[in-house]
Subunit: 418 residues, 2 copies
């Protein structure tokens, strides 16, 4: 897809995350104003609620945009999603005759507050990164049992906690939890000492389903994508996860990027999933390229220190596409709901510096990573800030998500003090 | 608490599930009418929306009752919950001078449709029944490893799928899924052959929280209780559950009773949890008796056959109370939300005929149970109906939940046919 030029000059810079080809969906507020729907374009945000109120945007079944979530647009369906993109593209395209009507509804992004862009119905986290699964399996079960026996046959996932999902910029509080070290007779209740991040992509379900859906049908249910950091307390996880899976270890917070990049914006960047190592059952067959050509990175900024990129990887590492994950999710008759968030699982490359979690980067703490500004990390220290970034590279333009960032605050002295 | 007599005669029978002491919360509709809030009393249902519209009930912050869910009442808080009970009790008590105003708003239960009584925010299923955990552990890991090492130290739980929760009477469709038998090289995609039930209590969160809460605070967040059948595909579960826990095996359906019995109605029936086998960490200490004195049973009715009670057990078997489960749920900072549903886990007694799942009753299929009308069961057959019942026995009255029932329909011939 060729680059589309806008009269918003900052959108036309080759390195801009939000060119006219992107038009990601967010919720913003200004000062004391109410949060409402907007789209990022260059360095500014377009107030969609205002455009809709003035009749510059009109969507079938609307109004949808003067609310603090995108769920109503999602519910309206793919024809409305496409129509919205077409109308906004026309308004912002270079040469638009309506520029003078739109200009007043652009606000510098730096002065805005960004909110969670949608109401999260339910949150499911998959485990679809092959290197991550093999790394964790090797650490926990040995190299001979790196991948669980089911892993190459289906996308393994678990239900997460929707109430834990927060928008980029939200401070994260180091959790307390029940842990038991290998040398101890009894568990203790204490702040997590192995608090970690997981670099993931998320996808947002824009159309619900009842009963099993095919991979092709699942693909059509996707509204868009976000960056996702699945904060993880490894010491809590190690003690709790048998036999029913991760629970409180994953419930402290899950940070997503403030912008949902619509599936249409990433359509030109589809790539095949990796070659199958064993044949998949027919219900997981892919009708076309299901992965996304998105470069990803993790940056860590110690308190008062300089930012260091600690991992660079790629969304093409996912062994199962989101559409395969969703199709599998529905096999038992599980209904999907507008606003469901699906996490991909940690995305790690084969190289050490392309691993998507500190657990892997430091190999369980055995090999701390050095930070360029001095010091090292096995797991997060208080007041570390972690930022995920990602973009698809087009011909002369990029499709980005905005920073997906969070600072880890120290544990509470007494979690039961009010 | 003494029995309270009502001018609704059917409520005063000693075996009635819905005496004036109960007043459980449901959502009902008549014919083409809109679903709205009601309370069961004897053989009839009181139309609370109508009473509120006529000013016979007035709640601070209301109206709340002309909607198809109880979430708004829950959100209003414990003072409103108590006030509602007091107002309805006064209207229905023997000798009420307002009887003539109320009578027109009572409808025979048999002619009504009952709906899911609340919007399920998120659904968490615990594993708090000691006999169930030990039975399953023995079958899967051997008698020496019956209980996981963490089990006696904390309530183990996993996040379930809220979209799977349905009201009693909803037909259940036998799911397809990926399974792999021990004698097979590769998995297959087929209808579940080991479809099971789980007898549980559920509790409904009526007040949300942020950050960790104590057991006492957790207790105060509980709006009420339901019966809960966590339908489970054991063959799908066996293949998928390592390492991240049950997923599609539990996502077909979770049936709850149509009536939420408010915590206040069960306050006289509180009993202590069983003696601790190892000391619990202080954050799980109980301020008072946390379990409920509720007798439970599972009935199975084959297609065209007679109902047989296949298990009788008791809610006092739960090793961890709901308040302990909720407190643990919040340790990591996990926010609880109005409308969250918490399942207790399967409630099994020590005796064989008090086990709460067919997996246990038939010992994994090795010892099928005989049905009194002929035939036997290891797992469910098509068109079996399973009904859970439970009640607390007071002095001359009972507190019941109504049947929690579902019929298993045959698997679809082709789950991808539309």
């Amino acid at each position: 897809m060729p680059r589309v030029m806008s009269w918003v000059e900052s959108a036309n810079r080759p390195e801009a995350e939000f060119p006219l080809n992107n038009l990601p969906c967010g919720v913003f507020s200004q000062g004391e104003g109410e949060p409402r729907c907007g789209m990022a374009i260059g360095d500014v945000v377009l107030d969609l609620a205002a455009l809709e109120a003035e009749g510059l945007i009109a969507l079938e079944g609307g109004p949808f945009l003067d609310v603090p979530f995108w769920n109503e647009v999602m519910e309206a369906g793919p024809a409305v999603w496409a129509d919205l993109r077409a109308q906004v593209t026309a308004l912002l395209a270079a040469g638009s005759t309506k520029r003078y009507l739109v200009e007043d509804h652009l606000h510098p992004r730096a002065g805005l507050r960004l909110h969670l862009p949608f109401l999260v119905a339910e949150y499911t986290d998959f485990y679809a990164g092959r290197n991550h699964a093999a790394n964790v399996g090797t650490m926990f079960r040995g190299a001979d049992n790196a991948l669980p026996p089911n892993w190459l046959h289906m996308p393994i996932g678990y239900n997460g906690r929707a109430s834990s999902v927060v928008v980029s910029g939200t401070e994260i509080r180091r959790p307390w939890g029940q842990v038991k070290g290998p040398g101890f007779d009894a568990p203790a209740f204490q702040p997590s000492r192995r608090f970690d991040i997981e670099l993931e992509l998320g996808c947002v379900i824009g159309q619900g389903s009842e009963g099993p859906v095919t991979v092709a049908e699942a693909e059509a249910m996707i509204f868009g994508y976000v960056l996702l950091n699945d904060w993880s307390a490894r010491d809590i996880q190690a003690w709790e996860y048998q036999p029913l899976g991760p629970f409180q270890a994953k419930a402290t917070a899950t940070t997503i990027s403030p912008w949902i990049v619509m599936a249409a914006a990433l359509a030109p960047f589809r790539i095949p999933t990796p070659p199958r190592e064993v044949p998949l059952l027919p219900y997981l067959a892919e009708p076309g390229p299901g992965n996304l050509d998105i470069a990803l990175e993790v940056a860590l900024t110690p308190a008062g220190g300089a930012e260091a990129v600690i991992s660079r990887t790629h969304a093409g590492e996912l062994y199962y596409s989101f559409a395969q994950q969703i199709a599998h999710h529905t096999t038992s008759g599980c209904a999907m709901t507008v606003g469901d968030l699906i996490g991909s699982g940690t995305i790690s490359g084969a190289a050490r510096d392309s691993r998507g979690s500190l657990l892997e980067l430091s190999w369980g703490g055995a090999e701390p990573i050095a930070l360029p500004g001095g010091g090292s990390r096995s797991f997060l220290e208080d007041d570390d800030t972690v930022t995920l970034r990602g973009h698809a590279q087009g011909d002369g333009y990029r499709i980005g998500f905005g920073d997906c960032s969070g600072r880890l605050r120290p544990a509470l002295a007494d979690p039961y003090a009010r």
